[in-house]
Amino acid sequence: MADPMKIRAQMKGDTAEIRVLMSHAMETGQRKDSAGNTIPAHFIQAITVDVGGKRVIQGQTGTAVSRNPVFGFRVKGAKVGDKVVINWVDNKGDKRTDEATISA
């Protein structure tokens, strides 16, 4: 099981700024280990963000996203206290869901 995400969600005016740090190796499948064997690709493929029970963002990612990915999103019309639920699934079927609450 992967480490928890770090999620920060804060209101700036009428817009919630959401930043999330995911803990993931994001192996490209292009690298080789010291014995010369290709290290298999292992990367997050799908991300969803729900705010206040509504799906606001869904994305697909490939191997070119950096190790331990950081994403920043902005959601208009969200309120202090709204729950932010972020989920990812990787190419091996591992998944992780974490949540946070929007602060003022």
Partner: protein
């Protein structure tokens, strides 16, 4: 949209169960589109193939896309990129790196108040153009590009 769906389904062609589910009418194609990783686009080895894979083969340049990235990246493994679109009704953004072995890095859809504004960190194998594609609600694609010089690559071992 139809063309995109077809490419997508061709990419998922190996999974017979999915095809059967569609044939049986269990899944609407739109649901499949939302759920299935766009293998064709993400595994395209050149920028043309990747753009075509997301349906943006003929995207026009547009100054309304704001693409922020460093001019020079010392570490190609972590290049901060900020993309936002001022084009009305932008519903998705995709970010590509021209010279990477697999150019498409990510594609995001926005709804229910989410602004078309995305910050992320990318790997760049070498000095390359970074390209941002915006899709509007009426199915049009627009593109903006910026070159990032890389002194140490991020894709080697």
């Amino acid at each position: 949209m139809d063309a995109l769906r077809r490419t997508l389904l061709r990419g998922a062609g190996a999974s017979g169960a999915l095809a059967a589910a569609i044939a049986a009418g269990l899944l609407k194609p739109s649901q499949v589109l939302a759920a299935e990783w766009n293998r064709v686009a993400f595994e395209a080895k050149d920028i043309g193939g990747a753009l075509k894979g997301i349906g943006a083969g003929s995207a026009a340049d547009h100054a309304g896309i704001v693409l922020k990235a460093p001019d020079i990246a010392e570490n190609g493994a972590v290049v901060p990129v900020d993309v936002s679109s001022n084009i009305p009704n932008t519903i998705s953004l995709a970010v590509l790196v021209d010279k990477n072995p697999l150019p498409l890095t990510s594609a995001f859809d926005f709804a229910n108040g989410a602004l078309p504004d995305l910050a992320l960190r990318l790997k760049l194998g070498q000095t390359s153009l970074v390209e941002a594609v915006a899709k509007t609600a009426d199915g049009k694609y627009y593109i903006a590009k910026k070159e990032v010089k890389v002194t140490v690559g991020g894709c080697g071992g």
